[in-house]
């Protein structure tokens, strides 16, 4: 009898959790507000068997409310040598929750995961879509992954996208009783429920009824505002390598073991190092010479299988093939430096423009890139080994201003990459222009970009071929119709680099000529595009990701015999959102215009929004002001 009851309750549980009612009318109105997708349920079950084995069972159901949500209606998951993917199942339900279709195995696509920069890897993915179009509807998918080795555990992010609400989402982690699970919560209030069973521990995190969020201009990213839990092991093992990661030191120690013996150079390369550096004056010069050598002789190509995602190809491989990924190139750079007697570190980092959020208090694999750090007597030089064009010592917005973990013989050491301030990141622009009777403009524009302001121009100059560059310049400026007649670039090769761009252009009818008037917008190029609604409700902080300074001086010669009818007022705004000043002067046949704009890395509360919006709306207007000239009667 006892047995019978147990079986019965088991069946009851199964029934409860797997036959959910997907009728759309079950969704609370508050979850439909601003939503394109409602997550009806999500259950990620991480079953850790041992330090190198885990099974991940994932099941989720989305109600797709409209066409804008359709891009999330498909299934997608990846696999590799380190994780299998199997037992994929999927179902489609209509608005009333009626079951329409089940997934067919042959409809699951199997694709290569190699991106454009990857020559070969074990990355693959499977994908499926029902392509249904009667909104709203619900899709439900589940799958299972087997981890062959653990270095990274899944992340639970309840709202990965905007306009995405959550009815119910759960993360369950089962571990052996003696397994030391580590976790980091973000925007999760409270603690997980932890149940100790005889031989296992079960952790459960759960959220219900999270309203859809939407991103705001100058706002934080979804990853910052979503509820999330990151998991990490303490002791782990992967492809025969074991390690610990409850401190940065131990985490680094593991990465150090992957580097062991990889920095041997072939004799020819050794000889080359000495030929290049033996007569150099000092260590800095040696670093610069060897970095130049690396840049001129290697390029980025990714070939990685299994542990190769974290372990570099050795220095001889790069020496022979003259290519490698970030790991291999940074390791090779280290070997070159070592041969020249210079100590340096393999530095792992989370790269990406403005991708600076990082949990320094939670050692785990938050990294996606490797650079090289060279401590010198007076300064530390950072080298981006995958770039063939950046000057030695400059990082750019891909890796600056964030933590990096140096891999040393005694383990990992967390340090920060340089951050650049408003005096580093600046551009200064001088325009000498002429406007004739017809309103035609000819202008010589000289712009000097420095620091992070240099990044985009630098990239364009190096990536685009001449005709694409010309095409780009002919579409770049906010002029109605113009032609770039000449252009050129000149770079300085310093740790704080700059690039000087000179452009000659003509723009017919730039100034509008009517019977007796000439309308001129003296601000030819630098027009801020941001216009904001001051009455909009602001939910999140205002974020300035970096500091910069812009200065423009424009001299325009105008046709003889005009006088000013309307001259915009000079304007200066100086508040916590930035400094902006614009001046106009008409002196005889000359217009002199100046513009200054400076902003500093900062963060403001949502209540500051109206003032912030006004700041930008004032700039928007001032940037577009026109001078009206009238022809003198005689």
């Amino acid at each position: 009898m006892k047995n019978f009851v147990l079986v019965f309750s088991f069946l009851f549980i199964v029934d409860f959790s797997f036959a959910q009612d997907f009728n759309v009318n079950q969704i609370p109105d508050s979850l439909k507000e601003h939503a394109n997708v409602v997550e009806r349920l999500d259950e990620t079950r991480v079953i850790i068997k041992s330090i190198d084995k885990a099974i991940i069972k994932h099941k989720y159901a989305y109600t797709i409310l409209n066409e804008a949500g359709a891009k999330y209606s498909g299934y997608f998951n990846d696999y590799s040598d380190l994780k299998d993917l199997h037992d994929i199942d999927g179902d489609l339900f209509d608005e009333s929750g009626k079951h329409l279709k089940n997934i067919k195995k042959k409809d699951i696509g199997d694709y290569s995961g190699d991106d454009d920069e990857t020559l070969a890897s074990d990355a693959r993915f499977k994908a499926h879509n029902f392509y249904y179009n009667q909104y709203p509807y619900t899709i439900e998918y589940e799958d299972e992954q087997d981890y062959n080795g653990i270095f990274v555990l899944p992340e639970w992010v309840t709202q990965p996208y905007e306009n995405f609400s959550v009815e119910s989402s759960r993360l369950i982690v089962e571990t052996p009783a003696d397994y030391n699970l580590r976790y980091k919560q973000s925007n999760y209030w409270g603690n997980p429920s932890i149940v100790h069973d005889n031989d296992k521990i079960t952790y459960t995190w759960e959220v219900k009824n999270q309203k859809a969020k939407h991103l705001e201009p100058y706002g934080p990213s979804m990853s910052e505002i979503s509820t999330a839990v990151i998991l990490a092991p303490t002791n782990f093992s992967i492809q025969g390598f074991t390690g610990k990661m409850d401190s940065w030191q131990d985490f680094g120690m593991f990465r150090q073991t992957l580097l062991g013996g990889k920095d041997e150079l072939d004799d020819a390369t050794k000889a080359k190092v000495h030929q290049l550096t033996d007569t150099a004056k000092n260590a800095t010069e040696k670093v610069v010479l060897l970095y130049k050598y690396l840049q001129n002789n290697t390029r980025y190509v990714n070939v990685s299988f299994g542990i190769g995602g974290w372990q570099p190809h050795d220095a001889k491989y790069v020496g022979e093939k003259k290519y490698g990924d970030c790991k291999a190139l940074s390791n090779f750079m280290g070997a070159l430096l070592k041969e020249a007697g210079i100590n340096s570190f393999y530095a792992i980092i989370k790269a990406g423009k403005n991708n600076t959020s990082f949990f320094t208090d939670f050692p785990c694999n938050q990294f996606n890139h490797v650079i090289r750090c060279v401590p010198l007597q007076h300064d530390t030089m950072w080298l981006e080994c995958t770039s063939q064009t950046l000057p030695a010592g400059y990082l750019g917005d891909f890796t600056c201003n964030r933590p990096a973990l140096l891999i040393t013989d005694s383990g990992g050491k967390l340090v920060y990459t340089p951050s650049y301030n408003e005096n580093d990141n600046e551009y200064v622009r001088n325009i000498n222009a002429n406007i004739n009777d017809e309103g035609d403009l000819t202008a010589k524009i000289i712009s000097n970009y420095k620091g992070l302001e240099y990044d985009d121009e630098h990239e364009m100059f190096h990536e685009l071929n001449n005709s694409d560059l010309k095409k780009y310049l002919n579409e770049e400026f906010p002029l109605s119709s113009y032609e770039v007649n000449n252009f050129g670039y000149k770079e300085t090769d310093e740790a704080m680099p700059s690039i000087r761009e000179s452009i000659d252009l003509t723009s017919n009818s730039y100034a509008h000529v009517s019977g007796k008037r000439l309308f001129i917008v003296p601000n030819i190029i630098d027009k801020n595009d941001l216009k904001l609604d001051t009455t909009e409700k602001r939910n999140y902080d205002i974020v300035y990701p970096y500091s910069f300074k812009h200065a423009d001086t424009i001299n325009i010669t105008i046709p003889h015999g005009y006088s000013v009818e309307a001259l915009p007022k000079n304007k200066t705004i100086d508040n916590k959102f930035g400094e902006y000043a614009i001046t106009y002067l008409v002196d005889d046949d000359k217009i002199v215009f100046t513009r200054f704009y400076e902003r500093k890395l900062n963060r403001f509360s949502p209540t500051d929004y109206p003032e912030f919006a006004n700041f930008y709306n004032d700039i928007y207007k001032a940037d577009r002001n026109q001078i009206v000239l009238v022809k003198n009667d005689n």
Binding site: A68, N129, L464, N465, N466, S467, K471, K531, R624
Partner: protein
Amino acid sequence: MFFNRIGAIACCAIIFSVNAFSQSKELNVKFGDVKPDDFKPQAYTIDSSADAVYLYDMGSCKYEGNTEGWFSIVFNVHERIRLMHKKSFDDLATVKIPFVQDEAKVEDLKAATYNYKDGSVVVSALDKKSFFTDKDGKYKIIKFTYPDLQEGSIVEYTFTMRAPIYYGHEFIPDWNFQSYYPHLWSQYTIEVPQFFDFVTLRQGYLSPLLDTSSASADNFHIVIQHGAEASDNVSIRSNTIKHTWVYKDVPALKDENFITDLDNYKQSVQFQLSAHRFPDEAPEYFMHSWPETIDQLMKADYFGADINKENAWLKDDIKTAANGETDPLKKAQKIYESVRDNYTCTDYSSWYLSQSIKKTEQLKKGNVADINMLLVAMLRNAGYDANPVMLSTRDHGKTYDVYPLLDRFNYVIVQVNVNDKSYLLDAADPLVGFGQLDEDCYNGNARLVASTPVLIDLSADSLHESETTSLFLANGDDGEITGSYKCTMGQIQSIDLREKLKKSSQDDYFKDVKKSFAFDVDLSNEGIDSVRQPDMPAAIHYDVSFKPADDIVYFNPMFPTDAYKKNPFESAERFYPVEMPYCMDETYILNMEIPKGYKVDELPKSARVSLNENEGMFEYLIQENNGYIQMRCHTKLNKANFEPEDYETLRKFFGFIVEKENEQIVFKKNS
């Protein structure tokens, strides 16, 4: 007499080389034969700023007998490129050779990098481990990247692909003599047994250096398997025809705006099997006339077989769709809408069915052919004269009117005749109305698949898109100016707007409208008509109010959403024809009360210009009348396609439009 006879024989022999342009000969460059001199040029005269130059690229295609009872194709490729600048590495340093798994074999793959060092050539050849094979869907891809690259390196690869071909499916691979980098010498040779007849299709603007044919003979050994044990060996001796094309100093292709598909202009050669001509046998034709092809298509399972059946099982669907409607036109519309609104198109590029139409009906999804053929079946079943129409969309290149080359097509629509009027329908596109097509379909001629397979003109020149905007402004209280704005869009603009509103809300749309004004305005009663009624043009309307404050007010009579801010023809030079999506016709009408307390100090001048006499016109008429300003601005193009020589004129024409549409009225406060 004697000379005459010789002449006659010679004439026979060289019948295939009448096109020979010069004494030039084809080149046969050996793999690995790279000399120090090859590194000498610091730049190439053909294009001194080129980031890479194809020094030599050669393809050849031959037939050989196989052990599967027929022929195999032997396709050989050899490319040698000089990489002048790092910028070309991303494009050219990694090579991918995709092919259909299990059928083709890649053999003799060799690749190497050559560098010039201290007076000699240093070779870095790729070893076997450096060639990777990846699988992606039905394709296998061989991938490799060149080692030891520097600016100025020469890279080279060659391979042979062997693939069995099946009776009646003989083919010859295409060859492109042109790419995004210049080619110094591009050569293609085909050698095919004489009994396979191919039509050669060439495109591009360049003249070949060499274009020759010659005849010879060859032995072909074919093994025919009969089960596991027995086989027959057949040896055939046949004349073969060898044809070689060489293009020298081919400039790089350049991408430009307003081009449907740059591939249309690429110098290339393609082939299509037309017949088998075996000795002592009647020829067997594989490329037929259009009527014959259509006839076959109508019988084929992958195209017309289903729609020629009775399909009684569709009755219920038709009944539900028609919902009691008896008017023939309205009923056809209802049937059309039922397919358009209930089926999902999962592939917008296919001229043939992926499944039976019954399956399409069950799954409620399919490719564009599946869905529109189902519509044909339903319309026919309901008693209409309905036929499929095949076409190639704008991004898919042009079709040939003369040859029925089906691979040139990628789209199927429907023609239905109701009350002696023809309508073209596309039920795969959820955003178009009855009798409408999206701009993608307007790519020259389409082909009616019916007993009389006529051409249907779908050139962009035949698509007229008209948009009308009216704005009324009057004086309100407290010196405010209030008014109402309405813009009724053309068909294509309406489709684009609907597409946009799929992803963003109307609220966001009007927020953007508000932001587009240079001065502060208030909008109210905003709305968009017919967002969900594809048969009707979409119309944007709102009420607007603003308040002039200064003593002198400069006011553009054209609202910012209507005035051209930028000349669409940005580039100063043009190589290829301009292919706009439609002929535009835009009218803007303003009636404005002069702001209270102000007078007009200056009005923009009225103007009228025409484009090449009758190809288009722009009219800007403005006047002050009894305290009101009336303005009418009309832009009209009578064609959508323009030759490169018209570019300069077209660019100036739009330059003038931009200039006029940004002129301002000057109001002065009464003193």
